[in-house]
């Protein structure tokens, strides 16, 4: 049911003129894609530095919350750029992306990363500042940092897999994969 709805949504986007313009323009798609990838350096790069500091791997002589607070802004700016360019990339190739298994896993990982970041922030605010100058953060925050690193590595890897066609609809007849990727027509034909 939800797969059908998503497919319809994708087909509706694909029929729009701007979606076709974006993908057929000389450089437009490449520029959006390059911006999406390059903002990794701003968003995930700064995020990883915060996580590394929590684990005591980098700058142990600087208070952990200071690093987290000062790098928050560039991280958010990078994320906003990534979000909008990412949305444009989906808009340019909607059906292909919506029916990509990797894209779906990526979205799930993103949601998990968000929940983790939210819990992490709450814990960091709740903890008193006594650990701030310690080379490593308390255990709960360290676990949060490791989960964040793993989830974002997964997000980047899934993002990299999206253009590959290993498990595209029509390349597999495994019903579980077809269902997970939302290949409505291929599932019906089975």
């Amino acid at each position: 049911m939800i797969n059908e709805l998503l497919l319809q949504f994708g087909q509706w986007m694909e029929a729009q003129q701007y979606s076709q313009m974006l993908v057929a323009g000389y450089y437009s798609y490449n520029w959006v894609e390059a911006t999406h990838v390059l903002s990794l350096m701003m968003c995930i790069g700064t995020l990883f530095i915060i996580d590394f500091r929590m684990l005591g791997l980098i700058m142990p002589n600087v208070p952990a919350t200071t690093i987290a607070a000062r790098l928050h802004k560039p991280m958010i700016i990078g994320f906003v750029i990534m979000f909008f360019t990412g949305a444009l990339l989906v808009y340019a190739k909607p059906v292909e992306t919506i029916q990509s298994l990797w894209f779906r896993i990526k979205m799930i990982l993103l949601v998990l990363a968000f929940i983790n970041a939210w819990i992490f922030n709450a814990r960091m605010k709740a903890a008193d500042g006594s650990w701030d100058m310690d080379p490593v953060a308390p255990k709960t925050l360290r676990v949060g940092a490791i989960i964040s690193l793993v989830l974002w590595c997964g997000v980047v890897a899934m993002g990299r897999y999206i253009p590959y066609d290993w498990v595209d609809c029509g390349r597999t007849d495994n019903p579980t994969i077809l269902w997970a990727a939302g290949c409505v027509e291929q599932l019906r034909a089975l």
Binding site: N30, E33, A34, V37, L38, L40, M41, M42, C43, I44, G45, T46, L47, F48, I49, F52, L57, I58, M59, N61, V62, T66, R70, L71, K73, P74, C153, V156, A157, G159, R160, Y161, Y164, W166
Partner: protein, 195 residues
């Protein structure tokens, strides 16, 4: 006299000598001849089992290495932004820039090493194509000169004394150059994939 000048300005004079050497080599068309002779090496990379063959036959492995390449690029970006934006006075104004310069450098070195190692593997899988791409050679030029800039000039100066004893415009120039270098390396790298 000449000796004391050399010992006082070793770096500057070496830089001038290297630039002169580059001009002389260019005049004698050494670059063009190296380019012609490099083709067998790229073909070897493409056909050698541990580089090109694995890269082309195991797509999922190749894509995973690419993901590691991107992640190390992200960490490079993070460390460069933290250190250089501090030099420009944009962020971390309450932390001394010496602390950030020293603190991020190790992380930068490690991620650059990972990026280069994975990058060699990624390039080997398409070695027969990148050889003919101008943007690939631009990337290599910027990467090599940028690494020399960071490791031989920028870092030694920044580590040599407190930053308030260095001309503030020099600090800004170093920061902007470093930001533009790593942006260019990343951007040209992405463009290799489109070409």
């Amino acid at each position: 006299m000449l000796n004391s000048l050399w010992s006082r300005y070793t770096r500057t004079l070496s830089l001038v000598l290297v630039l002169l050497l580059a001009i002389v080599l260019e005049l004698f068309e050494v670059r063009t001849s190296i380019y012609g002779n490099a083709l067998p090496f790229f073909e070897w990379m493409r056909n050698s089992f541990w580089f090109g063959v694995i890269g082309t036959n195991y797509g999922s492995f190749y894509a995973t290495v690419q993901a590691v390449h991107l992640l190390s690029m992200a960490v490079i970006g993070g460390t460069v932004l933290a250190a250089d934006l501090r030099l420009l006075g944009v962020i971390f104004r309450d932390i001394p820039s010496e602390t950030l310069t020293r603190g991020t450098h190790k992380c930068f070195r490690i991620s650059l090493t990972v990026a280069i190692a994975t990058g060699i593997f990624c390039a080997a899988g398409v070695a027969d194509k990148v050889y003919y791409m101008e943007v690939f050679w631009i990337k290599m030029l910027v990467l090599i000169s940028g690494s020399c800039f960071v490791f031989l000039f920028k870092q030694p100066l920044l580590n040599s004394r407190p930053h308030d004893e260095i001309n503030p415009w020099t600090l800004r120039l170093l920061a902007v150059t470093s930001l533009l270098i790593w942006f260019t390396v990343a951007a040209t790298g992405r463009w290799i994939g489109f070409s």
